[in-house]
């Protein structure tokens, strides 16, 4: 490569380091269930996201894991302002972005971008790669003068590891991994500070997954990005994340650094989730104890009272049905120096010896 990518590094923002760049508080999204054709009346609500709080710090990667239907993708859509929250706040550098509209919202969108799950549906099949990656510049003309755009697009292709001569090709001429790179290039075009990646590698081959994850890590270092990385593959989340949040049925079950979650899980759901990860060593695989949960995930339209997980939990007692456990450092570990001292929404949080970390 004769030329170095011209994209400059993220300039040091005036925002104080150590402050979260994104603060999410009590985020709720209920989708109404209606009946009737002309005169709709609400008969209930799917509680897709039901009171979620977390912070995202500059330059860090926050992984969100959980099984299908737990609300991960809804959180991503809420962060992107693609859905309006029922209640709660999302503060970007102190400013609540859920109430923004028009020009102010457009300005914020420059700084928060998304990478989608399915590279086959996230690119408009009628547009060339050049048009797809160049579209952010058409929408935000202040970012790149008209004459520069083609060069910028080619630079972005180069940054994500694609041949810059492919600008005139159509998405269906690329493989899944290459399409995902195109999606990442589009997300990077406006030089955002935060990238919300909703299962960015779930639709890819395992070998290609590693390439894309490595690319995302390289771009994070190069451009100082903060990632919100949503996935259900626990090993990939551990690989890329600094901190990990575990979601169950619209609520955060446990959140902490990757070591705290993977080595010292205290929430029974996290323990069950981790015990389901296959271990490559056959001997260890034979020795470890698997926690097999019974039943299905309850309907988010009618979640259990108290703790959401109690219907499938082996520790559940009467208290779990009455009291909603708060996401806080459990009392027994408050003073402890161990990795178990991280927020966990369980009345009976404790470490479990037999859990094998991935």
């Amino acid at each position: 490569m004769s030329e170095k990518p011209q994209l400059t590094k993220q300039t040091e923002s005036s925002y104080a380091a150590g402050e979260p760049i994104l603060e999410v508080r009590d985020l709720v999204k209920h989708f109404p269930l209606t009946q009737g054709v002309l005169f709709k009346r609400q008969v209930g609500a799917v509680k897709a996201v039901d009171g979620i709080s977390f912070d995202l710090y500059p330059g860090e990667t926050l992984g969100i894991v959980g099984e299908s239907g737990c609300g991960k993708s809804t959180v991503a859509k809420l962060l992107m302002n693609l859905e309006a929250p029922t209640s709660g706040t999302i503060r970007y550098k102190g400013e609540d972005i859920t109430k923004l509209s028009g020009r102010a919202l457009k300005a914020v969108r420059r700084n928060i971008q998304m990478v989608f799950q399915d590279p086959y549906t996230s690119l408009n099949p009628r547009m060339t790669v050049g048009d797809i990656i160049g579209e952010p510049f058409d929408i935000h003309p202040e970012v790149a003068p008209k004459g520069d755009r083609r060069a910028k697009v080619q630079e972005l292709l180069d940054v994500v590891g694609l041949n810059p001569e492919y600008v005139n090709r159509y998405p269906h001429q690329f493989s899944g991994g290459q399409r995902q790179r195109i999606g990442i290039a589009r997300g990077l075009a406006l030089r955002p500070e935060i990238i919300v990646a909703d299962e960015p590698v779930s639709a890819l081959d395992v070998s290609v997954q590693a390439q894309v994850v490595n690319l995302m890590e390289r771009l994070q270092d190069e451009f100082g990005l903060s990632y919100m990385f949503i996935a259900h593959d626990l090993s990939i989340v551990r690989h890329i994340s600094d901190r990990v949040g575990v979601m169950y049925l619209g609520k955060m079950a446990e959140i902490g650094s990757d070591e705290e979650i993977y080595e010292h899980p205290t929430h029974p759901y996290t323990q069950a989730l981790l015990s389901a990860v296959p271990v490559p060593d056959p001997e260890a695989e034979g020795r470890r104890e698997r926690i097999v949960l019974e039943g299905d995930v309850p309907s988010p339209a009618n979640p259990p009272s108290g703790c959401r997980f109690r219907t499938r939990c082996w520790k559940a007692e009467a208290r779990c049905a009455e009291e909603v456990p708060l996401l806080a450092i459990p009392a027994p570990f408050e003073e402890a120096e161990s990795g178990a001292a991280h927020p966990s929404a369980c009345h009976f949080a404790e470490e479990r010896a037999a859990v094998v970390a991935v």
């Binding site: 002309l38 859509k77 992107m80 302002n81 693609l82 919202l105 457009k106 969108r109 420059r110 928060i112 971008q113 998304m114 989608f116 799950q117 399915d118 549906t121 996230s122 690119l123 408009n124 099949p125 009628r126 547009m127 060339t128 579209e135 952010p136 058409d138 929408i139 935000h140 590891g161 041949n163 001569e165 492919y166 600008v167 005139n168 090709r169 159509y170 269906h172 001429q173 690329f174 493989s175 991994g177 290459q178 999606g183 589009r186 406006l190 070998s207 590693a210 390439q211 894309v212 994850v213 490595n214 690319l215 390289r218 090993s235 990939i236 551990r238 690989h239 490559p280 991935v358």
Partner: protein, 314 residues
């Protein structure tokens, strides 16, 4: 373990797409339309209908290429003695004469103009009007969708022929524009429904979400992302409907409420020809064959286009 993911760095930086054949120039990629075109050229149904339609269009543009006779000048000495003479190709008496002593062949040629004009313009206007209603209803949803869909239902509920009769009998002059208006008034609902469904499907695609999260304006999302991807089913329905509009024009003219003399049209001639069905059947059959061939050509074209644009039929 985390190490398992550390695939060599080179693998992550230079995967090139499998070079498709000649890789010299960044080739203009094969889009859905070029794929469809590729398919169509091989489809005998398309070739036959295309030849018929091209001949028809030449007839519309340059009728004098096909006949030197005038469709409106009659010589009453030919009246009823003018039986068709099928060996006189392209001659004035190829298909005989009508009751006014006018060349039936000349009227078949000149009649194409009114018929095709009605068919093409109605299809065009119906696609624009129905497409816009469907786009707005499908994209915005909510109460806008409810109101527009109910209005569509109301128009859909009007019986086609009855509605056309009511519209056409209120206007006395039977010219092409009145017929076009009547057919547009009753025909747009079909396209509106198809367009609405198609827009709703496309609206949920990730690339539309991506454009939204970039801050794209509603107009950009609609016309750059939704319309190009939602237009295929609309085109299919419109092409198939074109034959129907031509048949409808002939029907209305036959009933005496569509086009009328002195406009030269196949429907008018079929209507006039029915009186002499037993003594001079050529007066009825000749223009009727033109209507059938034209409708058939457009319906075959619509079928071929649908097969080419529908990826599921591949």
């Amino acid at each position: 373990m985390t190490e398992t993911l550390n695939v060599s760095a080179s693998a992550s930086t230079d995967p090139k797409p499998a070079p498709p054949g000649n890789d010299a120039k960044p080739a203009k990629g094969r889009s859905l339309w070029s794929d469809a075109w590729h398919d169509l050229r091989r489809n005998p149904l398309f070739v036959i209908s295309a030849v018929l339609i091209v001949v028809l269009l030449v007839m519309v543009a340059f009728p004098s290429l096909f006949t030197s006779a005038s469709p409106t000048v009659g010589d009453l000495t030919h009246h009823y003695q003018g039986k068709p003479n099928y060996s006189h190709f392209f001659a004035e008496d190829w298909f005989g004469y009508d009751t006014q002593g006018r060349s039936v062949w000349a009227r078949m040629v000149y009649g194409a103009r009114a018929t095709v004009l009605v068919g093409v313009l109605v299809t065009l206007f119906v696609t624009i009007l129905g497409g816009l209603v469907g786009l707005v209803a499908g994209y915005f949803g909510g109460w806008i969708d409810s109101v527009l869909s109910r209005i569509t239902d109301i128009f859909q509920g009007i019986p086609f022929l009855l509605g056309a009769m009511v519209v056409l009998t209120t206007f006395t002059e039977g010219n092409v524009w009145v017929v076009i208006t009547a057919l547009l008034f009753l025909g747009w609902t079909q396209i509106a429904r198809v367009a609405r469904g198609s827009v709703i499907t496309v609206k949920q695609s990730d690339y539309v979400h991506a454009a939204k999260s970039l801050g794209a304006s509603t107009a950009r999302i609609m016309f750059r992302h939704i319309v190009p991807n939602a237009v295929a089913p609309v085109i299919v329905v419109a092409t198939t409907a074109l034959g129907g509009y031509i048949a409808a024009e002939a029907t209305l003219s036959y009933l005496g409420i569509g086009l009328a003399e002195p406009t030269v049209s196949w429907g008018v001639d079929v209507s006039a020809g029915k009186d002499g069905l037993r003594t001079a059947p050529h007066m009825l059959i000749s223009p009727a064959i033109m209507v059938s061939l034209t409708v058939l050509a457009f319906i075959m074209l619509g079928d071929a286009v649908r097969n080419a644009l529908d990826p599921k039929s591949r």
